[in-house]
């Protein structure tokens, strides 16, 4: 099983990398705060997949699953807090544009 499992590792990691590229691109190119968070979410999906694959290939499925469950919990909390921050910014500027974050008035 191990040799066979090893063979699926590379195809899966190709897709993990592709997901990662999508996520990074999204975060970099978007002008919307919520979309930036969504981009982060895609990246987190990518590593969830990577964890599961790693667990499957190495035969440590149970450990990998417990890691993934913990990861999901942390992810939810992190995203919730970030959403709270986005709402806070929205209440200040009434927009979700990331360009509002620029330091326009710098000292000196």
């Amino acid at each position: 099983m191990n040799i066979e499992a090893l063979q699926i590792f590379w195809p899966f990691s190709i897709f993990v990398i592709m997901l990662f590229v999508i996520g990074i691109y999204y975060v970099l190119a978007t002008y919307n705060l919520i979309r930036a968070l969504l981009g982060l979410e895609i990246m987190i999906k990518a590593i969830t997949l990577l964890l599961i694959v790693a667990g499957y290939v190495s035969g440590h499925v149970a450990l990998a699953q417990s890691l993934v469950i913990t990861l999901i919990v942390i992810e939810v909390v992190a995203i919730t807090v970030s959403v709270g921050i986005v709402l806070g910014i929205h209440s200040h500027t009434n927009s979700l544009d990331t360009r509002n974050l620029l330091e326009k008035t710098h000292e000196g």
């Binding site: 705060l33 982060l40 590593i47 790693a54 190495s58 440590h60 942390i74 921050i85 974050l101």
Partner: protein
């Protein structure tokens, strides 16, 4: 030892019970008691026999925790700086409800930091890093100031990317070794020898920690976050949080998991030197007290990393010692900036001047902090910088050593010019009625200043204790 995590956490639960609302007023006293007892505990732990004797009966849960000398130093630092943050915040946050919330967050921080220090499992390390990061988001955004909010959003993005890098590294490690325990990974990696996949894992993890530590070129978020968070929070952030998240974990992971090889040493050397220089030059041009301190923070963290990169025990001790010193003097300087913010309402240096007559204690302690940061004998910062520079020379990194010395002069230059702009010179008419900051700000400043002088003068003792702890 698990109690160190559980007690603060449990007390949060108790204080938040809806039918115990009357108890909430005691949270201030209780948290001071907690911090103080942790300080005492960590001070006692300097003798190793105490550690083993004390740790055994506390082993309630099977958490796979461990405490070594570095951990003891971290426990001491986190409790000390949390204590001072608490005291300083007392004069900033007046409303009862908000104060309760703030203290609860501090207790969360204590619990998370203690966990971070003691875990011996790479995924638990990630968990506690993430908890600490989440709490720090809330702390920075606590004052719901727009600039702090936008700063924290940048921090959230970069920090989450860092976490993602760390987890992908963990996934690769899981693939290679089938476990997340430090010792297991260490042995497995050393059995298998050099492997490109392992190198990828190392690079992912280390880069994640570089982002968290705010090292050049991963430091973009740091200046804004430090300078726009509220006064007491920036003490906490600069003093312990980002150091624990980035630097401590870096030391821990390199030492216990991946091993300090000459390759990683070169990377640390380059990154550290870049941080030292860019931080110092960046600080030179700043017009805001807190922003200057933020850049100076980048530069000082660079010293720690460079000390680590010298790959010899002396450099390691120097790095840990500088870590300690940096936490102390940087939080001292931020306490002083809190004093300014409290009494004057701005930290923009263009508007300040001549305050040493009005705020003598703040001015004096900030001189202490500055001289320690610049490495002037006999203050604490001098010794750690000396150790690091000697270590660099011993390892044959002459160029880097000379750069480190040069940057030390730059540090003195920008901090002295800051001191001049803020405290010396002509007193602005507006500030004629300014008073010395309140007791809750002056007291931490004095204690921290005393620590700087004490550690500097009693250097032999401290150094012996460090060797005892880290050997």
């Amino acid at each position: 030892m698990s109690l160190l995590i559980v007690i603060p956490f449990f007390s949060i639960l108790v204080f938040n019970l809806p039918f115990l609302k009357t108890l909430r007023k005691a949270i201030f006293i209780w948290s001071i008691f907690l911090f103080l007892s942790q300080i005492v505990l960590s001070c006692c732990s300097i003798s190793p026999s105490f550690l083993t004797k004390f740790a055994k009966p506390l082993h309630l849960f099977n958490f796979n925790l461990n405490l070594d000398g570095l951990g003891v130093i971290m426990l001491f630092l986190s409790a000390t700086i949390l204590l001072f943050t608490l005291i300083v915040s007392h004069s900033f946050i007046k409303e009862e409800k908000r104060r309760f919330n703030f203290i609860t967050l501090l207790l969360f921080t204590l619990s998370a930091l203690n966990g971070l220090v003691m875990v011996r499992d790479i995924f638990s390390l990630y968990i506690f890093v993430e908890i600490t990061a989440i709490i720090s988001y809330v702390l920075i955004a606590f004052d719901k100031d727009m600039r702090a909010m936008s700063a924290v959003f940048k921090y959230v993005i970069l920090s989450t990317v860092a976490s993602i890098l760390m987890v992908s590294s963990i996934a690769i490690v899981l693939l290679l070794t089938g476990d997340t325990n430090f010792t297991v990974i260490y042995e497995a990696l050393h059995m298998s020898g050099v492997n490109p996949l392992m190198m990828l894992a190392l690079s992912l993890f280390v880069c994640g920690l570089f982002i968290k530590a705010g090292l050049v070129p991963f430091h973009g978020w740091l200046p804004e976050v430090y300078s726009y968070s509220s006064a007491s929070v920036s003490i906490l952030l600069a003093g312990i949080l980002s150091k624990a998240l980035g630097v401590y974990t870096l030391i821990r992971v390199l030492k216990n998991v991946f091993g300090l090889t000459s390759q990683i040493g070169t990377i640390l050397l380059v990154v550290g030197t870049a941080s030292i220089l860019i931080g110092a030059f960046g600080a030179l041009a700043q017009k805001n007290f807190k922003k200057m301190l933020a850049y100076s923070s980048i530069s000082q963290v660079g010293y720690i990393i460079v000390g680590l990169a010298s790959l010899n025990p002396l450099g390691f001790i120097g790095a840990v010692f500088h870590f300690f010193n940096h936490s102390i003097f940087k939080s001292l300087l931020f306490v002083n900036s809190a004093g300014l913010e409290k009494e004057i309402g701005t930290t923009d240096m263009a508007h300040l001047g001549g305050l040493s007559k009005r705020m003598p204690i703040t001015a004096t302690t900030s001189v202490l902090g500055i001289l320690s940061a610049a490495g002037i004998p006999p203050l604490a910062g001098f010794w750690s910088k000396l150790l690091i520079i000697i270590a660099l020379f011993v390892s044959g990194h002459y160029v880097y050593g000379i750069i480190a010395i040069f940057a030390s002069v730059l540090t003195l230059a920008y901090l002295l010019s800051m001191q001049r702009m803020v405290f010396f010179g002509k007193l602005n008419e507006k500030f004629i009625s300014v008073k010395e900051a309140g007791f809750s700000i002056v007291l931490p400043a004095i204690i921290l200043g005393a620590i700087i002088v004490g550690v500097g003068v009693l250097y032999p003792l401290v150094f012996k204790a460090l060797i005892l702890l880290l050997a």
